[in-house]
Structures are given as C-alpha cells and as structure tokens.
Subunit: 210 residues, 2 copies
DNA sequence: TTATCTAACTTAACAACGTTAGATTTCTTA
DNA sequence: TAAGAAATCTAACGTTGTTAAGTTAGATAA
C-alpha cells in the first residue's frame, strides 16, 4: 500500500514549498517581510495551513537557519583539502565573509539575532561533525595549528583562539550588515577590509616565524 | 510672560518621562518589551500621547540611541589623557567591551540592528567631534599611531585601520550578545576573551618593535 | 467674569501581525 | 455507498504601531 507513502510525500512537498517561499521572501526583502500571511499568499494556501507543518514561526525560521548552517559548513568542507593549517585559516576567513556577502539576510538571522534556543538543538545538525558544523571545523584547524606550534605560546586553548578568529571576521561583516549604509562611517569595501583583517588576525595569533 | 516657557518646560518633562520609561523598559526586558502601550502605562498617559512628542516609535528609539552614543563617547573621552596612542588603543578596546557588558540591550540597538537612517543625522550629535563621536576618537588615535610610525607600513589609511580595530572588538561582544547562551559553543568569559583580543589585534596592526 | 481659542490629551478605531478553535472539504477505507 | 480520517479553510482573538476625531484644560481677550 504505497498510498500512505504518497501522502507523506505530498506533505513533504507542501512543507518544502513553505520553506522555499519563506527563504525567498527572506532573501529578497529581509526578515520583516517574512510573515505567515505573505508566505501563505505565495504558496496559495491559507496562513493557518503552515501550522500543520511547523509548530510556529520561530521553528520555521530555525529550520531555515539550520539549512544555512549546513551550507556554510559545506563551503568550509571544501577547504579541508588544504594541508597547511595557517593557509586553511586564511581561506576559511575569506569563505566566511563570502558567505555573508552572498546571504546577508540569512547571516543576520544566523549570527546577529538572539534566539530563544529552547529546544537543545532539535534541528538535526550534527554538532561536532566538521562536515555539518562549521565552528567545529574552525576549531579543529586552530587545534592543528597549535599542535604544530604555529600559534603564539599564550594561545593554548583552541576554543578561545577559535572564538577570537571567528569574532574578527564576524565583527567586520556584521558591522557592514547592520551599519553599512550609515553615512556616519566612511566604510571601506568589505572585500578589501576582509583580506586585510585576515592578515592582521593571522599576524596577531601566529608566532613570529610567520 | 514666563507662561510659554513654563509650558515648554512641562512639555520637555513629559518628553523626558517617555524617554526614561522606554529606556528602563528597554534595559530591563529588552527590545521586544518596549511597546508604545507599555511605555504609556508606565508614565500614566494614553499611548497616543507619545505621538505628540515623537513622530513614531523609530525616532523615539533613535533618540535613545543618540544618548547612548554620547555616553560611549564620554567614556572614550576619559581616556584622552593617555599620551601613548598604542596604550590608548588598548584602553579604548577594553572600555568599549565594558560598555557593551554594562548595556547589552542598548548595544544591540546601537550596533547590531539595521535602522532605516532616513534622516541624515537628524539627531543632534556632532559628528567628528571626539567629545561626542566615539568613532572619530578612535580614528584620531589610529591616525596618531600611524603618524608616529607605530603601525605596520601597509596600514596607511586611518579609516580602514579604525574599522578593523572596531570590528575586532565588536565581533567579540556582538557574538556574545547574540549567541552567548547558545550551547553549541563553549563560550569563554567575555572579559578574558576581550583582553586577549586587544593584544592579538594590537600585535596584528603594530610594527614588530611593539 | 465670561467667552473664545489653542494646545494637550484621550477615546475609538484601523490594518497587520502570530496564533487558535471549529467547521468544511477531500481522500481512503470498509 | 457510508464512515472515518487527514488536510485545509474560515472566522476570530489578542497583540502591535498608528491615525482621526472628540474632549478637556489653561491662557487670552472682551
């Protein structure tokens, strides 16, 4: 009896329609434009139909986030081939900024908005698996750099060092997203600032020898 | 005829009441808790009375921000006495993080939330005046460091260098505010990370000679 | 003192939001 | 063909920011 399976498949299709509509609305017009009613309009369902697939708006948004986290991790995984940990850090930094430039709205939601993280990682992301966890990947790279004696002696804690490196790049992109069109500051091009930041940061954490 | 003046004074008093109520609501319960109706409740006026003093919620919030920008600039101004620009940068970094720790909700609004900055600086902050413009103060300090030949030769643009320094510290505090209670990351204490970040950043931008 | 005018303020309402309860349609199964 | 279950919709509630129209209070002028 493949009927139940077909029904399930149809249900997943609607679910995917909702996610796609939300994602596009999101990417094109930003967070504020994503309302249940507008999503419903796009997929030609009533607003309440969404609640058959998602508990509430927050969990819908969270699922969008989970996908974006995965995509970022995949972008990172493509850099795994680079054997030199310092060079890998350099590439990671630039890839991170590239992701933020490509998906500023997603970035805002992922890293600039406080969420009630009630459910302890209900999203089916595998924490710690570098294939799906970009932070774990960064940490592993930092750990390797420490093991190989490439970082300054005071940097013994991979967790802390990873947070510093992350924060450096995050600071740049998040300022640009939040205040990039604020005339108060004469912003330099993000790409230029990013490559300089990578060098500054690397010089700050590596030993004199390079 | 001091009557008009008294009326004006009374009007300013109500205006101040609104700002104070909004600020406290804000500091205690965060952005989402600040609604026109809750502000009105606190000051025992009707919600619409607020619109006699502020065009809309956005401008009210913006005025709150302007005050916070001023306060941050004042905190910076207290560091102006330090003659050594490198040492001054160190103190600026720590003061910046201290401000963010003391007023996380204000910080979020000031630096982590995109605003429609429609009015070109209608808020009566004096841009460029280091007494009221914290960014100008940072930039001036960086410029002095460059003049004295303390920064690396590739850092010739004070604007760009200031943005890097700012971004480093901002990245740290903004990640803590947005994702500080996300169990995905084993956050190190912000104060510890901040003092390390200051050193890493300084090492990254200064010449070898220190 | 009384009438008038103006500013401050309130009440009532609107549109849009997230969300829930209950009715209705659609499809599967007996 | 009738019964039952799943999917969906309609209508509504309680919020939100905001506007329009009415009301009150105090200052001015007769």
């Amino acid at each position: 009896m493949g009927i139940q399976e077909r029904r399930e498949r149809e249900k997943q299709e609607v679910r995917k329609k909702i996610l796609d509509a939300a994602r596009e609305l999101f990417a094109r017009e930003g967070y504020e434009a994503v309302t249940m009613r507008r999503i419903a309009d796009r997929i030609e369902y009533s607003p309440t139909a969404i609640y058959l697939h998602f508990k509430d708006k927050e969990t819908l948004i969270r699922e969008l986030c989970a996908n974006d986290f995965r995509e970022l991790a995949h972008a990172f995984a493509r850099i795994a081939q680079e054997p030199n940990p310092i060079e890998r850090l350099r590439k990671l930094g630039l890839a991170y900024v590239g992701f933020a430039i490509d998906y500023p709205n997603h970035y805002r939601l992922m890293f600039m908005t406080p969420h009630p993280h009630l459910d302890p990682c209900e999203m089916d992301l595998q924490k710690g698996n570098p294939e799906e966890d970009a932070y774990a990947f960064l940490k592993a790279t930092i750990a390797q750099a420490i093991e190989e004696g490439r970082l300054r002696p005071e940097l013994t804690d991979p967790e802390l060092a990873a947070q510093l490196a992350w924060a450096s790049m995050h600071g740049l992109v998040s300022l640009h997203i939040a205040k990039g069109d604020d005339p108060w500051v004469e912003w330099r091009p993000l790409a230029q600032a990013a490559s300089l930041m990578v060098e500054v940061c690397l010089r700050g954490i590596t030993r004199e020898g390079k």
